[in-house]
Structure formats: structure tokens, C-alpha cells
């Protein structure tokens, strides 16, 4: 792909047939690269293959943990579907991750705008506060939150899953980094019009920060959909169970469900995320890279 520019730089090739043989060797090299990648991919995707194979294999012929040759069946999915209230799990997971993402953006965007675009006393201190919060793992603050939530009677509820996450140091940080890179003229026009702070954020900052918001929201949704730790802290029953929490209960270390049924449940658990991933992988990747693009 860079041959047009680099070819003239290599001092006139002395041998005539060289370009042809070089393009063939390049083709061979590319083929080798793809073959190597395919081999590594085959190894890394084994867990997916085993999960799918077992999920579709009749429990009678299934050998635990191997690609056994039982006949194909949908019985595992039927059993796994009946064992858990899937529609409710899906809905609850969707509600929780969307609520977290929306509230995180709603709170982070105004703060990020102020930190990026306004000079005020204590700005540096405010920014360092964000950085400090961003570096505190949720695991460390879990027990005080657990105690506080139990005191106000919010354990085992959706708000216990959502509220602790809505103040996002990470969200403020990456939205700020993005807003810093936008030309000042975008904001100046609105300031001359004496736009109030709320409509400034809503009408000027929001549309301009859309790529960063989408990337951050995708990142947040995947992160919280996958999270097992926090639901394990605040949930006691299946009342507000997320998909991840339910699968860990159903197919966890002390599960008594048959092997093939556990694998069917695992498939059901990751399907929504696979769909989100395939649709939004570009945004997810951008979200990951925003973190490093300082």
C-alpha cells in the first residue's frame, strides 16, 4: 500500500525482473501473516467453539469440557431458557446500563465543558479531584457503599446498581480531553449571543462532542453489562438481577445444572453483547483509544 511512494526512493533497481518477484514475495509474506493470524485466532476462539458445540449437544452423549459427538439438539436452550427469567434479565440489564450511561454523560458533559473551556479559581484543584477519583477502584469503595445502601434500604434494587456509578471521573476526564481539542471559535459564537450555561451545554457542547460521547457511552455500556463485582455486592435475590449476575449464579463454581445446559445459558448471556459489539465495535475501539489519546 505504500509502494507508490517508497518505490522511487529505492535507487533504480539493477535487475529487470525484480519488481515482479518482489510483488510475489510480498504476496507470499501477506499470506503467511494471515495464516499466522488465523492459527492464533483459532486457539483464542476455542472457548467460543466449545461453548457453542456443547450448547447444541444432547446432554446424554456430552463429555464434560470436550468436543464430544452427541447428536444436535435445542433441548439445552429450552431448559436454560426455562431455568431463568430471561426477558426480565435482558430488560433489567438494558435498563441499568442505559441509565448509567445516560446519567454519566448528563453529569459529566457540563463538568467536562467547564474544566476544558472556562477559566475559574480552583480549576486545577477541580481537575486533580477528577483525576484522583478516576484512580480509585470501585472495589475499594464497595463496602462503605454496601453499608450505606443497606442503611437506606436500597440493597437489591436497580438504584443500588445505577447510582454509585453516575459520577464518573473517567467520563469527565475523556470528555474534557476531547473538548480541549475543539476550536475555541465554536464556543465564542454562542458566548457572543449570551447563551446561558444550560443551553450552551445542550445546544453547543453536546452536538460538538458527539463522537466522544458515543465512544464513552459504548465503553460504559459494555463495561457495566459485563460487571459481575458490583451486582455481587448489592444484589441479594433475583429481583433486580442482571444477565451477568444471573449467569454467575446459574453456571457458577458450585452450579448443579448439567454441563450442556450451562453452556446454553452462557450463549444466551453473551448474545446481546456480541450483537452490540459487532454493531458498535468502531465506537468501542474509539472509546478505548480516547483514554490514551491525551
Amino acid at each position: 500500500m505504500r509502494s507508490p511512494t517508497s518505490a522511487p526512493a529505492t535507487e533504480a533497481p539493477p535487475l529487470a525482473p525484480r519488481p515482479a518477484s518482489r510483488s510475489r514475495s510480498r504476496l507470499l509474506r501477506q499470506a503467511r501473516l494471515h495464516a499466522l493470524l488465523a492459527v492464533i485466532a483459532a486457539v483464542m476462539l476455542i472457548p467460543f467453539a466449545l461453548m457453542l458445540k456443547a450448547a447444541f449437544t444432547s446432554p446424554a452423549g456430552a463429555v464434560p469440557g470436550s468436543f464430544s459427538s452427541g447428536h444436535l439438539t435445542l433441548a439445552n436452550f429450552r431448559a436454560a431458557w426455562d431455568a431463568l427469567d430471561w426477558p426480565r434479565l435482558y430488560l433489567n440489564s438494558c435498563f441499568v446500563v442505559l441509565a448509567i450511561a445516560v446519567l454519566q454523560v448528563a453529569l459529566s458533559l457540563p463538568a467536562a465543558y467547564v474544566l476544558a473551556r472556562r477559566a475559574f479559581r480552583g480549576q486545577k484543584l477541580a481537575f486533580w479531584f477528577v483525576i484522583a477519583c478516576l484512580n480509585i477502584p470501585a472495589q475499594v469503595t464497595a463496602l462503605p457503599m454496601f453499608y450505606a445502601l443497606s442503611r437506606v434500604g436500597w440493597l437489591d434494587s436497580d438504584q443500588a446498581l445505577i447510582l454509585p456509578w453516575i459520577g464518573s471521573g473517567f467520563g469527565i476526564f475523556i470528555l474534557r480531553q476531547y473538548l480541549v481539542s475543539i476550536p475555541q471559535s465554536v464556543f465564542d459564537a454562542a458566548r457572543i449571543d449570551r447563551v446561558g450555561p444550560m443551553s450552551m451545554v445542550w445546544r453547543v457542547v453536546l452536538p460538538n462532542a458527539r463522537p466522544a460521547i458515543v465512544a464513552f457511552a459504548t465503553f460504559s455500556i459494555v463495561l457495566h453489562w459485563n460487571d459481575l463485582f458490583w451486582p455481587s455486592v448489592v444484589l441479594l435475590t433475583d429481583r433486580s438481577a442482571t444477565v451477568t449476575y444471573a449467569i454467575a449464579q446459574f453456571a457458577g463454581a458450585d452450579s448443579t445444572a448439567p454441563y450442556t445446559q450451562q453452556m446454553a445459558a452462557a450463549v444466551l448471556a453473551i448474545i446481546p453483547l456480541i450483537v452490540i459489539y459487532l454493531v458498535a465495535q468502531k465506537h468501542l475501539v474509539k472509546g478505548l483509544n480516547l483514554t490514551s489519546g491525551e
Binding site: 469440557g65 464497595a142 463496602l143 454496601f146 459520577g167 449467569i247 457458577g252 452462557a266 475501539v285
Partner: protein
């Protein structure tokens, strides 16, 4: 305008001023307040509270919290569980971080070298990282199933290690294998972003000088990847120190607490056994470990970047 805003004028007077001067002084506060209130309530105050809780005793029946002094610390330190979990967490981190970073870098270099189909491979190799680790952890538990599981029946017989998850020696490495499998994709993405910043002219110049792929990597690519490597290492370390998901679904901390990491132990003590004081001791130790590691990484990366520019 600024001088006016910072002078101690009554707030009512400012509000009555015409035009934008009325809200300018309060604007930052107004826009920062909701987010900062949540950060204070859900992050800053709990981090102080956890230190206090580590000196308290919680009675699950009366739901009373009483001052216990150093009792939790004394019992956690003498029981050995805390030290065990600390060692497990450090071993897990030391094993997974280099594995993820090196394989992630290798994959990124391979994908960066293909002329077509790079996006396809990126999607394929990031797939494990996008999937629910709790669900895939259960699949891995079956892969490690004694005798008939795919790992025992293939590599297990070759290297002579079987029944990983029930072995006090090999359960933690098994958990680390799964953690690495999950983390590689994220590292790869970060290195691909880093590779985009490698100076193309320098690579071309090296090619003209007939520098082999190996030399081109060490002379041009690797130095340009410095920031990406530092960042990937920091992220991988942060994730490793907090490991919980696959421990919960693969081993539940066993056998004999040999896969109980700090995250898992604090959850087990504080949430499962409702021993909030003892759990908080573990939280504080985890926090100190995270801070120390971050400080060391900051110092090392500063020194490296200084050495690189000298």
C-alpha cells in the same frame, strides 16, 4: 469582569446585574456541582469511610456498628488470609500483565503488517474482551475439567499438569490464563492506536538502508510505542489488581483459598460473611497496593522517558 466576580460582593447583587455578568461567576459551580457532588458522595467519602470501617465491628443481627480499635487488623493479619490474598493478587498481576502486553503487542504488529483485512482481525481478536468474563469464565471452568476437559486431554498430558482448578499450585495460573485471554484484546487495541503514530518516513528511511524487520522494529517502531506501552501496562495492572469475575465463577476462591485475591477476599468477608470491618481491612490493603503500584509505575515511566530523550 473577573475582578468583579472574585470580589466579595453579595450574591444577590451579582444576580441582579444585567447581561451575562449575572451568571458568569456562578457558572462553573453550577455546571460542576452535580457531577462533583456524585463523585464526593460515591467515591471520595467512601474512600475515607472504608478506612474508618476497618476499625469498626458490624453486628449483622442488631445491625449496629461499634468501634473495635485494631481488632480487625490484628485478626486479619494473624489469620494469614490477608497475606495469602495479597500474595495471590501480586502473583496474578505479575503473570498476567507481561503476558497480555507482549501478546497484545505481537498481535498489533501482525495486524498492522497486513495490507488488507486488518479490521477483520481486530474484530476477531477483540471478541474475547467484549464478551462477559463471568459467562466465559464458566466455559473455561469446563475447559479445565479434570481428565475429559480439553486442557487436561491435550496440553495437560504433554506438560504433565492436570486437574488445574483443584490443585493448590495450578488453580491460580489457570485463573491467570483466563484473565490474560480476556485482557489481550484491549492491549492489542491500545498498541494498534500507538502504531498509528509510528513515523512512516523513518520506517521508509530504514527500509532504504536495508534494515531488516527486526532492526526496524527496535530502532523505529519500539521507541515510538513508548507511551502506548506505558499506558497499556498501567491499564493491565489496574485490571489485574482488581481481579474478581473469573475467580468467582471458576473456583470461588478455592481450593483452600489459593485463588482468593484481595478483591475476592474483601467481598467474601464483607458481603458474604457480613464481616464489614474485616472486609474493609482488605479494601484498605488493596487501595494501598493500587496506589503504590501506580506511584512506582509513574516513577519508572518518567525515568524511562528521560533516558529515552537523553
Amino acid at each position: 469582569m473577573n475582578a468583579l466576580a472574585t470580589r466579595p460582593v453579595p450574591a444577590g447583587l451579582l444576580r441582579r446585574l444585567p447581561g451575562k455578568g449575572g451568571w458568569r461567576g456562578k457558572e462553573p459551580v453550577l455546571l460542576l456541582a452535580p457531577a462533583f457532588a456524585c463523585l464526593a458522595l460515591f467515591v471520595a467519602i467512601p474512600i475515607i469511610a472504608v478506612a474508618i470501617l476497618s476499625f469498626c465491628q458490624y453486628d449483622a443481627y442488631t445491625q449496629q456498628l461499634t468501634w473495635a480499635g485494631l481488632a480487625n487488623w490484628a485478626s486479619m493479619i494473624t489469620s494469614g488470609d490477608l497475606r495469602h490474598a495479597l500474595v495471590n493478587t501480586i502473583i496474578y498481576t505479575v503473570v498476567t500483565v507481561p503476558t497480555e502486553v507482549i501478546i497484545g503487542l505481537g498481535l498489533a504488529l501482525l495486524i498492522n503488517a497486513v495490507a488488507r483485512g486488518g479490521t477483520f482481525w481486530r474484530v476477531v481478536f477483540f471478541a474475547p474482551a467484549a464478551c462477559t468474563l463471568a459467562a466465559m469464565g464458566t466455559v473455561w471452568r469446563w475447559l479445565f475439567y479434570p481428565d475429559t476437559g480439553l486442557i487436561d486431554s491435550t496440553v495437560g498430558h504433554v506438560i504433565g499438569v492436570t486437574n488445574w482448578l483443584n490443585s493448590t499450585t495450578w488453580a491460580l495460573p489457570a485463573v491467570a490464563v483466563v484473565g490474560s485471554w480476556f485482557g489481550i484484546g484491549q492491549m492489542m487495541i491500545m498498541f494498534l492506536a500507538g502504531l498509528a503514530s509510528v513515523p512512516e518516513p523513518a520506517l521508509d528511511a530504514a527500509r532504504v538502508d536495508n534494515a531488516g524487520a527486526w532492526n526496524r522494529f527496535w530502532a523505529v517502531t519500539w521507541p515510538a510505542l513508548g507511551p502506548a506501552t506505558v499506558f497499556a501496562t498501567v491499564v493491565a495492572t489496574g485490571d489485574a489488581l482488581r481481579v474478581f469475575d473469573q475467580v468467582r465463577v471458576m473456583t470461588d476462591g478455592g481450593p483452600l483459598n489459593d485463588t482468593a485475591t484481595l478483591s475476592f477476599l474483601q467481598w467474601q468477608e464483607g458481603v458474604s460473611y457480613l464481616n464489614i470491618g474485616a472486609g474493609s481491612v482488605v479494601s484498605v490493603v488493596l487501595f494501598v497496593l493500587v496506589l503504590t503500584t501506580a506511584a512506582v509505575q509513574l516513577l519508572v515511566s518518567r525515568r524511562l522517558s528521560r533516558a529515552g530523550s537523553a
